[in-house]
Symmetry: C2
Subunit: 152 residues, 2 copies
């Protein structure tokens, strides 16, 4: 029976790459977090376990993991990216323009859209990012209150 670790090494071998301590570490840090981490945060957390790891390696590792489909990159409107390990099914994001809060959700309708596009265009869909934006319930209320205040 395969241990998860062996399985991981096989994945790398199959991709013609080497499973290094740094790559394992980056992946572990990502999997240990439920949030989406940016490269800098990831770097800091990884450094706790390996003070010698470099930021460049973090970036290079993220690129590799992304290419292997183990990690997903999100660009939520800021200047930098956030990364997340791919487990469970795909899921999508709503980001509040007021407070920056991110709501994650899932829906089978995206798969349906992929299906449609596959049928219509003959494409092979490997990844899907759905990024809604607007205002969360809380911020909508805040805005209404401000409007009333301005009207005085």
């Amino acid at each position: 029976m395969d241990t998860p670790r062996d399985h991981l090494r096989d994945l790398f071998r199959a991709a013609g790459r080497r499973l290094t301590a740094q790559r394992r570490l980056v992946l572990e840090v990502l999997e240990a977090s439920t949030e989406h981490l940016d490269a800098e945060t990831l770097y800091e957390r990884a450094r706790v376990h390996d003070p010698n790891i470099s930021l460049a390696t973090v970036y290079r590792t993220l690129a590799v993991l992304k290419e292997m489909g183990l990690v997903e990159e999100h660009r939520l409107g800021e200047g930098h990216s956030h990364y997340e390990s791919v487990r469970g099914g795909p899921h999508y994001h709503f980001i509040c323009q007021g407070c920056g809060r991110v709501i994650e959700f899932d829906t089978p309708l995206v798969a349906q859209i992929e299906q449609e596009l596959r049928d219509r265009e003959g494409v092979l869909v490997l990844g899907a990012h759905l990024h809604l934006s607007g205002y969360c319930a809380q911020c909508q209320q805040t805005m209404h209150q401000q409007e009333e205040a301005n009207r005085q």
Copy 2:
């Protein structure tokens, strides 16, 4: 009866902003293109009509237009953004990881997803980006051929 130009000025006035020649130009360049332009390209094209316009102004104008909802920003995996003037309905993108080709499409299912989220979370959805990726029909074929070649 309003001319389109007057209408544009009103839009800016309503937002407490001024309609300058540069802003008009950036918008015109964007509307004249069917593709998504990045800031640099936009800058070059704008310079044809106004050699003095600066790249900083292009960026600032894009930020304003985006805030006003006249322009949409797309981050399709590269290091930089692409911009597109908002006309017609919303539409979504598939990008081929092989050749970089972008297929635009539309589907009412996204509106349905928005609806669901609105009902479930009480959020107000203002923008939706759906970004699928994978391989186009052509690149899939190319890949199969390469695989066979490697097998020899």
